[in-house]
Structure formats: structure tokens, C-alpha cells
């Protein structure tokens, strides 16, 4: 069992002048490769929608199609049609862009997140859900109310080996989830956009965290400090971090 941590969208925002990569996990399970999030897809590079064009200018997204996860998995010997399952933390354009590159995969999502992207009422919704990511009409698998617990977190068991859980951490979006994967007797906790960039808690003042990534930062901070056996991962990490830590 191997987890590869890939950078599938490179961002160089103007301010703060950070260099970021968007996390995508390639988990080699008994069922074949499972992706957690997909970064930007080929269609975002060849035919970017108005929304994506805005972020290309605003966030300094690097226009390199070799960053698309569908091209990166070939490095590990997988073909796109080998991917039967994709687990989504949330459906924002920088996480769901690669979905059309895997038209036959089942897409696992927390049901309120799917509802949120259909509703798309708020300004943040309209600014970040890219409907072009879903026009191929993927096979959705909805996961409803959490039935179990992982540590203290309400959790939804995903039917893969190694053990995987969806952990609802709403706030950044109305159905945002983290994903937990067992690695031997340790855990990888991909909290996606519920954690500050690079899982660093001192980057920005708390009120900005609350506004942009939701209410879970203090709880996750306390959890990370008391559970050294859990490796915390955020949705966006420093670009040079991927070179050092990319594969487990």
C-alpha cells in the first residue's frame, strides 16, 4: 500500500507572494488506485472557463497541462481507466477540475457538498464551483450522515482497504470533508481546505482563517498537537514541500 502525494495545481498568488501546490492523493488500494481530489484537469488548461480564467490571472495558476493528475499517474504505471474511484473533499474548481479526465470513475462525495454545488447561492459558491467539471455527468456515490467515529470526529467509513474515512469538516463549503487514510499503525489526515496552507497555524490571524476556511482550525490544531501518530495534510502546501515529502 502506497500513498503518493501529488501537486495537481500550482498557484503563485500576487499577495501574499506564496508558491503553492494543490494536493491530490494517489492511494494504491486493493481495489486499484483511488484518487483523493483531482486538481485542475486537462480541460482547464485547453478550454478554461471564465471562472478558471479569473483564477489563472488572480492566483497566478501555472498553465502546465503536465500538472494534470491524469498525466501524473502514468509516472506510477497507472492508466486513466484503472481509476475506478475518486473521493472528493469538496467540489471547488481547484479540486474537481480533473473529474472529466476519468469519465468512468465513481465519484464519492459527502451529500451536502453535492447539494451545495447544485444550489450555488452564495457569492463564494458562484465564484468557486465550476460547472464545466461536471458536464460529463459522473457516476456519483453519495455519503450521508456519519455513522461511526474516528478518534473524536464523526466519520463515514469508505469501503476501501486500507481503511479510509470521510470526516465532515464543513465551513469552507457547506459539505467540506477531510479524508483519513490508515498507513500501518499511523494515519494520514488530509484535512484539505479546513486547514491553513501547509498545515501551519501561525501564518495569518485567526479571523481570516474563520472567514475563509471555516471554524475547525483551533480543534485541528489541538488534535495535531496531541496526536503525533497522525500526519496532517492541508489542501495547499508549499511548492518545495512536494519535492521533499511527496511520496510516502
Amino acid at each position: 500500500m502506497t500513498i503518493h502525494i501529488l501537486n495537481c495545481v500550482t498557484m503563485n498568488p500576487w499577495w501574499p507572494r506564496w508558491h503553492l501546490g494543490g494536493v491530490c492523493l494517489l492511494v494504491e488500494t486493493d481495489d486499484g488506485p483511488v484518487l483523493v481530489d483531482t486538481g485542475l484537469g486537462l480541460h482547464d488548461y485547453t478550454h478554461p472557463s471564465r471562472l478558471v480564467r479569473f483564477y489563472i490571472a488572480d492566483m497566478g495558476i501555472q498553465m502546465n497541462p503536465d500538472n494534470a493528475v491524469v498525466r501524473q499517474i502514468t509516472r506510477y504505471g497507472w492508466k486513466p481507466e484503472d481509476v475506478h474511484h475518486i473521493v472528493m473533499t469538496h467540489l471547488h474548481f481547484d479540486h474537481a477540475g480533473g473529474l472529466p479526465d476519468f469519465p468512468n470513475a465513481k465519484v464519492h462525495v459527502f451529500q451536502p457538498e453535492y447539494a451545495a454545488r447544485c444550489q450555488g447561492r452564495g457569492l463564494m459558491d458562484r465564484m468557486a464551483y465550476n460547472q464545466a467539471d461536471f458536464i460529463h455527468d459522473p457516476q456519483w456515490v453519495f455519503h450521508g450522515d456519519p455513522q461511526t467515529k474516528w478518534y473524536d470526529f464523526a466519520a463515514i467509513r469508505l469501503d476501501f482497504n486500507p481503511e479510509m474515512y470521510l470526516i465532515p469538516l464543513t465551513g469552507h463549503t457547506r459539505g467540506h470533508c477531510g479524508v483519513v487514510i490508515r498507513e500501518g499503525n499511523r494515519w494520514l489526515f488530509h484535512a484539505a481546505d479546513a486547514l491553513p496552507t501547509n498545515a501551519q497555524f501561525d501564518l495569518l490571524p485567526d479571523w481570516i482563517f474563520r472567514l475563509v476556511i471555516g471554524p475547525h482550525v483551533p480543534r485541528l490544531k489541538a488534535f495535531a498537537q496531541t496526536h503525533p501518530e497522525v500526519r496532517m495534510l492541508a489542501g495547499h502546501m508549499w511548492l518545495d514541500w512536494f519535492d521533499k515529502e511527496g511520496s510516502l
Binding site: 453535492y114 456515490v141 453519495f142
Partner: protein
């Protein structure tokens, strides 16, 4: 276990004048409280007409009696409307889901394509009969995606209730219309909703196909081949409601 057959919205045609119809709702006693399949108009619709209802005032004859609202009928049957814990929707047109705001605590079970069409901007003619207000109170949605299940020969999705219930996607009238099949003591009750007009022998085939979608012939054939499944539709003749109170 009882299934009540309710008419929660009477809507008669002007031409031809003898087409007098009610909208069929099912009230089902289950292991998890009462389940209401479709709602008819709600109490709010009588206080404030939606645009589409204003149009229907012109093209149809309606008594518009607030006592027809599901919440009042359920109370008259001797139930507490608070016990309606789940609403299952065949589709989200104003005449089938207007009562949603009357049951703010109920979970709303709906096929994801129908939810999508309801939340989307109007893209086709039938989308004009959605009233956004009906889903604007922030209810607890439970969405269903295809699972590969089968009910008889139909693709179907199992609903989490006892008696056994299935959502049967029959798109056409709307982008995500579903029939609802309920297990009864002696077979099945199949609410084909607005995918079929089995009881209207006068409507021409092309009109049914235009308004209700492509499934009518298949559902009629199914009804003939399976006498154990009692097929009903979204709009039934008024005298049918007089004769049929339970299933």
C-alpha cells in the same frame, strides 16, 4: 401498515370540461414515522400565488381551498403532522412539492437529477413549473444517485424504509422525475406520477409523449403484465378519489 390516498390539489381542465382531476399524494405509515410521497400545494401557496399558479388560474378551474393542503388533511385523519418525518418527491413541480415549507423538520428524499434541475436556472419548458420558494427554507435534503438496483425491469433506487420502497427514475416530464413503488400486503402500489396518464383514455398519444415523456407505453404494458402491481398516476379523476381512500 396503511397507505392513505390523498388529493391535495384539485385542478380541473377548462377544455375539455369533464377532465376533473386531483393530485395524488400517498401517506404511508412506516417503521420511521409517516412518509408522505409528494405534497400538493402548501398553505403558503394559498396566501401568496406563485407566478405559475396565476397562469394555472387562467387555464384551469381550481377551487383553491386551503383545507386541501396536506398538513390539514393529515391532521383531519387523526395524525400529528409533526410525525411526518420524511417526504419523498416524485418531482419538484409546484403542484407536487408546494407543501414542503409546511414540514420544515422533515427530511426530503429526492433523486439527484431532479434536485439539480430544480436548483439550476430554467433550461427547458418544463423547468418553468419549479417555484424556488418551495425549497428555500433550508430543508434537510437526502439525494439519491443511481445504484444499479432493479425493481422488476426498471432501474431503481432502494429507499431506506419499511415497507420496502423504491425510487424508479422515469425522466421525461422533468429531467429527474421518479416513480415510487411501495410494497403492500398483496403486492405493490406503483405511483408513476406524471410519467403516465393511464386513466385518461381520451388524450392522444402524441400529447402524452409531449407533456409526460416517453414512458407511458412501457408503464401501460407493465400494468397489464403485472396485476399484482397496482399502478396509479400523479393526477387522478376526482371520482376515483371518492372510491379509493386506502391502498
Amino acid at each position: 401498515m396503511t397507505i392513505h390516498l390523498l388529493n391535495c390539489f384539485t385542478c380541473n381542465a377548462r377544455i375539455p370540461r369533464h377532465w376533473e382531476c386531483g393530485t395524488l399524494e400517498l401517506l404511508i405509515e412506516t417503521n420511521d414515522g409517516l412518509v408522505l410521497v409528494d405534497t400538493g400545494l402548501g398553505t403558503e401557496d394559498y396566501l401568496q400565488d406563485s407566478g405559475i399558479l396565476k397562469l394555472f388560474k387562467v387555464i384551469t378551474r381550481m377551487p383553491l381551498d386551503p383545507q386541501e393542503a396536506a398538513i390539514h388533511q393529515i391532521a383531519r385523519l387523526g395524525y400529528n403532522p409533526q410525525d411526518v418525518r420524511h417526504l419523498v418527491l416524485t418531482h419538484m413541480h409546484f403542484d407536487h412539492c408546494g407543501g414542503l415549507p409546511d414540514f420544515p423538520k422533515a427530511k426530503i428524499h429526492v433523486y439527484r437529477r431532479e434536485y439539480e434541475a430544480f436548483m439550476d436556472r430554467p433550461r427547458q419548458f418544463s423547468d418553468l413549473a419549479y417555484v424556488k420558494r418551495h425549497g428555500a427554507h433550508g430543508p434537510d435534503w437526502v439525494l439519491y444517485a443511481d445504484t444499479g438496483g432493479k425493481w422488476f425491469d426498471f432501474d431503481a433506487i432502494r429507499l431506506p424504509f419499511k415497507p420496502e420502497m423504491w425510487l424508479v427514475p422515469l425522466a421525461g416530464h422533468t429531467r429527474g422525475l421518479c416513480g415510487v413503488a411501495v410494497k403492500t400486503a398483496d403486492g405493490w402500489l406503483f405511483q408513476a406520477s406524471d410519467a403516465a396518464a393511464l386513466f385518461n383514455e381520451e388524450a392522444p398519444g402524441w400529447l402524452i409523449k409531449l407533456v409526460l415523456g416517453p414512458h407511458q407505453p412501457r408503464i401501460r404494458q407493465f400494468a397489464e403484465e403485472h396485476p399484482e402491481a397496482r399502478v396509479v398516476t400523479g393526477h387522478m379523476w376526482l371520482d376515483w378519489f371518492e372510491k379509493n381512500k386506502y391502498a
